[in-house]
Amino acid sequence: MNDGYLLLALLASGLCTFLIRLSFIAGERWLPRSEKLHALLRYVPASVLAALVAPELLVRGGAVHIATDNQRLWAGLLAILVAWLSRSVMASIAAGMAALWLLQAYMR
């Protein structure tokens, strides 16, 4: 496939993404101003972030992988603990990455 197709695919993907992000910001007046919607939106960050995180820790090559040799699971659990205790993003990321490197070095 040539560069023209590629550029078209990029622009179309970018436009879709932008319109999705603009959707309710632009159409705010059509959103119901209800208590229910407020309550519902409160759970957006926890739900979406958890949805993105869980497969990274628990799925390997398309299959659920819960075992002691799942290094990313251990590193991720440590990162959760550090984030919870320190409330620090950097400490959590650094601890998780360091844990993964250590596990990769010693568990093969």
Binding site: I20, I25, E28, L40, V44, S47, L52, I80
Partner: protein
């Protein structure tokens, strides 16, 4: 009713600076992922210009990885676009979430902030919008988080294209974005019902993996939100 909180009003510059400060720590996880995306894009057979351009045209890490993988697998462009759209549909939830706070802004601001509305910019700005007193210039905070992430993403993608091949795969840099989301997730949970939402969303995300076109993201988000609503009784005290 909003401006009678007694807090000192913050200027646009202060809000902008606070937004940058809130976002900077996240770059520790985002920049390695950007480097990795640069490498992965080239490896999938994309020309360098397309890898770099994608980061500003699409500006969405996970969806860019999907784009590169599908392009490498010779999937028709229409299918690539629709899969990218499904992966990014979760941003409609963010859009609905911030809509109320951006209601009175000009079109120019709305378009700009919509373009910059990513997982990391949204999650970092929530601290300002949801948990702090309102202010006339608080959209500058979101602009600060968004622009910081955007800059880090562009530079790291370019870096990945230029020097990424020198980074050994054994460094597992792709894991850095999962760690970023982990930190944001833990910091986003204040109540038991939010914990329930996260647990259910995580379980559904794992179980729903076989769904086509990455639809598991939306299935898991919907299940998590429903679980959170259902678990509201568990919260001891209600905050606003």
């Amino acid at each position: 009713m909003d401006d009678s909180t007694g807090h000192k009003a913050r200027s646009a510059g202060e809000e902008f600076r606070d937004g940058i400060h809130a976002e900077l720590p996240l770059l520790l996880g985002v920049v390695p992922f950007g480097l990795m995306f640069g490498v992965l894009g080239l490896a999938a057979g994309l020309p360098a210009w397309a890898v770099v351009a994608m980061s500003s045209i699409v500006f969405g890490g996970a969806s860019q990885v999907v784009f590169a993988q599908l392009w490498g697998a010779q999937v028709p462009p229409a299918v690539i676009c629709s899969t990218v759209a499904v992966v990014n549909l979760r941003h409609a939830l963010y859009s609905a979430s911030v809509a109320e706070w951006l209601r009175d802004l000009s079109w120019r601001w709305k378009v700009l902030l919509a373009y910059l509305l990513t997982d990391e910019a949204y999650a970092a700005a929530l601290v300002r919008f949801r948990d702090s007193p309102p202010g006339a210039h608080r959209h500058w905070f979101l602009f600060g988080t968004g622009l910081t992430l955007w800059s880090g993403w562009q530079v790291s993608t370019l870096g990945g294209v230029l020097i990424g091949a020198a980074i050994p795969a054994s460094w597992s840099l792709d894991f850095s974005i999962a760690l970023t989301f982990i930190a944001l997730l833990v910091l986003a949970i204040h109540r038991r019902s939010e914990m329930c939402a996260a647990l259910v969303a995580g379980i559904v995300a794992v179980l729903a993996q076989p769904l086509p076109h990455k639809l598991w993201i939306l299935a898991a988000a919907a299940a998590g939100i429903a679980a959170g609503l259902a678990a509201r009784k568990l919260d001891r005290r209600a905050r606003t």
